[in-house]
Amino acid sequence: MRRRDFIYLSGIGAGALMLPNLGAFGNPINPLQALDGIDVRVKKELADAALTVAKAKGASYADIRIGRYLNQFIITRENRVLNVANTESFGVGIRVIVNGCWGFAASNVVTKEGIAKTAERAVAVAKANAKIGGEPVQLAPQKGYGEVSWKTPLEKNAFEIPIKEKVDLLLSTNAVAMQGGANFVNSNLLMVNEQKYFASTDGSYIDQDVHRIYPAFNVTKVDSAKGSFETRRSISSPVGMGYEYLSPLDSEKVTGVTTRYKKRYDILEDIKAATQQVQEKISAKSVDPGKYDMVLDPSHLWLTIHESVGHPTELDRVLGYEANFAGTSFLTLDKWKAGNFNFGSKQVNIVADKTQVGSLGAVGYDDEGVKCKKWDLIKEGILVNYQAIRDQAHIIGLKESQGCCYSQSWQDVQFQRMPNVSLQPGKSSLSVDDMIKNVEKGIYIIGDGSFSIDQQRYNFQFGGQLFYEIKDGKIAGMLNDVAYQANTQEFWNSCAQVCDDRDYRLGGAFNDGKGQPSQSSAVSHGASTALFKGVNVINTKRKIG
C-alpha cells in the first residue's frame, strides 16, 4: 500500500492539507458537469480509428482505453470545510505489440487526429524497444466480446448527492468528536467514478462505469503536559458501492468491544466510540513485549492478507518483473509446481475474486478485455495458484488470462494488479466471543495501523488502531505501543481458528501502490476474525529530545 497518497488524503498529521496531489488524481471540475458518459457510438468510432492506424503501422495487436476518471474530495477539519474538489481526467491510452514488443502512448487530445498520432507514437516506442531484444510477448487467446457493458451495482450515485448533504454529514461527525473532548478531528469523503471504454483488435468493445467511495476520519487527543498525543482512525472501509454505504443499518453492524461494520457504515456512531477510545489510548498500559496469541479483527486482518498473501501471489512479482521496485516473491514457481507447499495451516483457504459485489476490485472486465472471475490461491494451506494477465498466462499453463489487468488512468499502461484476495470463513460455527474464551494470554487488534514487509514478503510488522489485552479468556483492558512481527509462512501456519461467516467483512484500500511509474489500485480483502498462536509482539514506545 502506498503511503504518501494516504497521508495526503487522510490528513493525518498534515497541517497544510488542502487539495490532494492533482498529478495523481486529475483536475478539478464543476460537480454538476461530466456526470453523463460519452456516447458509446463516438467512443467506438474513435477506438476503431486508433486500432486501424496501429495495425497499418505494423502492430500485431493493439488496444485502446478511452477513459474519463472523475473524483470528488470533501476535506474537513473540526468545524471547517478545507476543500470541495471535483476532478476530471480525460484522455486515451494506446497499447500495441510490434515486432514482439510492447509500446504504449497516451494523450489528452481525444480527436481522431490526436488519437492517430498517439497510436503512431505507441508504435514508435515499441519499435525502439524491440531493438533491445528479448523474448517476444505471448498473449493468451482472448475472444472478442463485441459491444458489452458493465456498471457497479449501486443504489445511490454519490456524485448525484448534493454537496451540502455530504458536507453536513462530515461536519456533524466532527462535531461529535469535538463535543466529546477531542482536540482535533479530520474527516474526508472520497468518491471515484471510472468511466472507461476498452477496445482491442480481438473485437471487444467494452464500456464500464465503475464507482467507489471512501469515508474516513482521524480523531486526535493531545496531552500537552505529558507531551504526547494519540489518534484513532475510522474503521470504515473504502468500498465499491454508492452513497448507500453511509446509510446505517443495524443488520450490517457487528457489536463487541467496539461496533464494526459490514455493508453499511455508521460514521456518527464510530466517531463517538473513537473519541472515547482515543482518550483511553492516552492512558493505556504500554505492552510488555513477548509471545502472544493474536485475535485479529477483519478491519485489521485485511491489510495483513493484502501484504503477506495478495502481493506474493502476484505472478509478475514471482517472475521478476517487479524486482526493481516492489520486489519479487518467496512463492517461487517450484513451490507451486510441487503442489504441496505448506503456506499455512489447514484453516487457511484464500480466494482471488474480481466478481464480489461491493468490493473495490469488482468489475465486469479487466483493462485488457478479459471477463472477471474467481479462483483459489491457497487451499487448505497449500499454494495452488497465482494472479495472472494475458502475457503471463502461458507461464503457469493457463489457456486464458485470470483477468487481473488494471491501469489507474488513461495515461498509465495497464499491468498485473491484485484482485480481491480474501480469507474464507471457518466452516464450523465459531463466534468471536467463543474464540476469545479459549485464549489465555493474547491481544485482540481492531483496525489497521503501521505496516511494513520485505521485498520477498517473508518478514512483516503490523500495528493497529485498538489493542485489547486478553487474560484467561477475558478482555482485560486496553494496551498501547503494540506491533507484531512475523514470518509470513510461520504466521499463516500459526492460524488456529477462523470465525464463521457471520463475522465475514471486507476491508481494503484505495491506494495499493505498484509499478514504475507507480500506480494506485483499489482492492478489498475479506475475512472473519482469526486466531494466530504465539506471535512475537514488540513495544514501539521511544523517547526523543
Binding site: 471547517r80 521511544r542 529530545g545
Partner: protein, 443 residues
C-alpha cells in the same frame, strides 16, 4: 504543444482572466511531456510516451472558492471553464482558512530546465537501457530497471497581478541486479536535471558489484550496531522527517511539539554535525523559485548544527500567529563532512554497511519511530574491513534518534528516494547504535 514558453503562457492566462467576473480569480496552466522504459529479466517489459496540458481556473467570492479545469484551448472553451468555476464557487461553503490572493511578486529565474534532458527520445532511452543491460548480460546477472524523463512547465496568474512561470526537467534511473540463483541482489539509483550526467553503464556496474559481493550472505544476530548508510539508504530514512510544519507542532501533534505546549524551535534536537536546508539555486538540486501559495522561495535553514532553526508557516497559519509565512521545503540539502565511505569502514571496529532501505513506514509520529528493512547489499564490518555479506534485517529506529548518533558524514550526493522518486542531496553517514529488530530471509 504541451510545453509553452513564458510569453505563450502569459498570453494564454491573460486571455483566460479577461473572462472573469468573480471577486478574485486565479488561472494556471501546466503541461508535461516525457517517457519511460521499464525493463526486467534483461528485456524491456513496458514503455510509454506521455504528454498532457491542463488549464485550471479558481474563482472566489468572499471566502467561497470554486475550481474547474479544461484541456481544450479555443476561446469558447476558455470562457466556459471560467463560468463553470464561478458557478461552483457559488455552490461551495465558505472556507474559513481561505486567504486572499497575493498581488505581484518578484521571482528570480530558476535553473531547473536542461535542454539535454528535454531532447530525450524513445531511441535515446532505449540506448541508455541497452548500456545497462550490456553490464548484466556480461556478468550473468538479471537486470530489472526503470528510466524516466520528463519536461514540464507551470504558470500561474491572478486577478491581483501575480504571474509566475517555471519550466523544469528531470531524469531518474534505477536498476536492480540479481544472480540466477536468486541468492544475491544489488541496486543503484540516480536522478539528475541534466541527463548528460547520467551514466547508466557505471551505475549498473555498481549494482552488479553489490550483487556479486552478496553471494553467500550469513545470518547474524539482530541488535544495536554501528551502521554506515550509503546516500540512497540515508535519503529514504530521512525523507520521512522533512516536514518542518509549524501548525502541527503548535497543535501538539508532531515530533517538533514540545512537552507542556509550544514547539521545539531553537532546541538542540540533533547532533551538532547536522545542518539541513533548502535552496532553489543549488546547482546540483535546483527547485522552482516560487511555491503553490505564490510566495518566492529562498534559501531556508531548517536544522542548524542540530538546532531547529525554522518551521514552515502557511499563509493562513502565519496570519493567525502574526508571523511571516514561510513555504515548506521544495528541496532538501544536508551538509556533509569530509569522511569517505572507505574511511568510515576503516574506523569501524564492528558494524554494518547498508546499501539500501526498503518499505519504511511510520510506527509512531510522536517520536518519528520508523520501521523498514535493509535490501540489495548488506555487509558486516570488523576491525576496519568488510568481512562478509549478511542477511537482511528489519529495523525500528527514529531518524531523530539516528541524527543524535552521528559519528561521521561524507560528501553529499544527489540521490533519489527509492519510494517517492524525489531527489535529495544527502551525505553518506556513520551512525552508532542503530536498532535492528529481526532477521529477514528476503533477497
Amino acid at each position: 504543444m504541451p510545453i509553452l514558453n513564458k510569453e505563450e503562457a502569459q498570453a494564454l492566462l491573460k486571455k483566460v482572466l479577461s473572462y472573469s467576473k468573480a471577486g478574485e480569480c486565479e488561472v494556471s496552466v501546466n503541461g508535461s511531456e516525457g517517457g519511460n522504459i521499464r525493463y526486467a529479466l534483461n528485456a524491456v517489459s513496458t514503455a510509454g510516451d506521455i504528454s498532457t496540458l491542463d488549464l485550471v481556473v479558481t474563482s472566489v467570492y468572499g471566502k467561497k472558492a470554486g475550481t474547474a479545469t479544461i484541456n481544450e484551448f479555443d476561446d469558447a472553451a476558455l470562457e466556459r471553464v471560467v463560468r463553470r468555476s464561478e458557478e461552483l464557487a457559488q455552490l461551495a461553503p465558505p472556507n474559513q482558512e481561505y486567504m486572499p490572493m497575493l498581488g505581484p511578486q518578484s521571482f528570480a529565474d530558476s535553473i531547473t530546465y536542461n535542454a539535454n534532458t528535454a531532447a530525450m527520445t524513445p531511441d535515446s532511452r532505449a540506448e541508455m537501457v541497452a548500456k545497462s543491460l550490456s553490464v548484466t548480460k556480461a556478468a550473468k546477472l538479471t537486470a530489472a530497471g526503470f528510466l524516466e524523463n520528463s519536461t514540464g512547465f507551470n504558470a500561474v496568474m491572478n486577478s491581483k497581478g501575480l504571474f509566475a512561470y517555471n519550466k523544469g526537467t528531470d531524469v531518474t534511473f534505477s536498476v536492480t541486479t540479481r544472480n540466477e540463483a536468486g541468492t544475491a541482489s544489488g541496486y543503484a539509483a540516480r536522478g539528475f536535471t541534466d541527463v548528460s550526467k547520467l551514466d547508466t553503464l557505471t551505475a549498473t556496474k555498481i549494482a552488479a558489484g553489490k550483487a556479486t559481493g552478496s553471494v553467500g550472505a550469513k545470518a547474524i544476530e539482530p541488535g544495536k550496531y554501528t551502521v554506515i548508510l550509503e546516500p540512497v539508504a540515508a535519503t529514504y530514512m530521512l525523507e520521512n522527517m522533512f516536514r518542518f510544519d509549524a501548525r502541527t507542532a503548535e497543535e501538539g501533534r508532531s515530533f517538533l511539539s514540545k512537552k507542556g505546549g509550544g514547539t521545539r524551535l531553537g532546541e538542540q534536537l540533533m547532533d551538532e554535525k547536522v545542518t539541513i536546508y533548502s535552496d532553489p539555486f543549488n546547482p546540483e538540486l535546483p527547485s522552482a523559485t516560487w511555491g503553490g501559495d505564490g510566495l518566492p522561495r529562498e534559501k531556508t535553514v531548517w536544522i542548524d548544527k542540530g538546532v531547529v532553526k525554522n518551521l514552515s508557516y502557511s499563509r493562513y497559519w502565519a496570519d493567525k500567529k502574526g508571523v511571516k509565512p514561510l513555504p515548506g521545503p521544495a528541496n532538501i540539502i544536508m551538509e556533509g563532512g569530509t569522511t569517505t565511505i572507505e574511511e568510515m569502514i576503516k574506523s569501524t571496529e564492528r558494524g554494518i554497511l547498508v546499501s539500501r532501505l526498503w518499505y519504511i513506514r511510520m510506527v509512531d509520529p510522536q517520536t518519528l519511530l520508523l520501521t523498514g528493512l535493509t535490501r540489495d547489499g548488506l555487509f558486516y564490518i570488523e576491525n576496519g574491513q568488510i568481512k562478509f555479506p549478511i542477511k537482511n534485517f528489519r529495523f525500528n529506529e527514529s531518524p531523530v534518534i539516528m541524527l543524535n548518533n552521528v559519528e561521521a558524514l561524507g560528501k553529499p550526493e544527489r540521490s533519489i528516494s527509492v519510494e517517492s522518486y524525489r531527489s535529495y542531496l544527502i551525505p553518506p553517514m556513520k551512525i552508532k547504535e542503530f536498532t535492528f529488530s529481526s532477521l529477514s530471509d528476503a533477497v
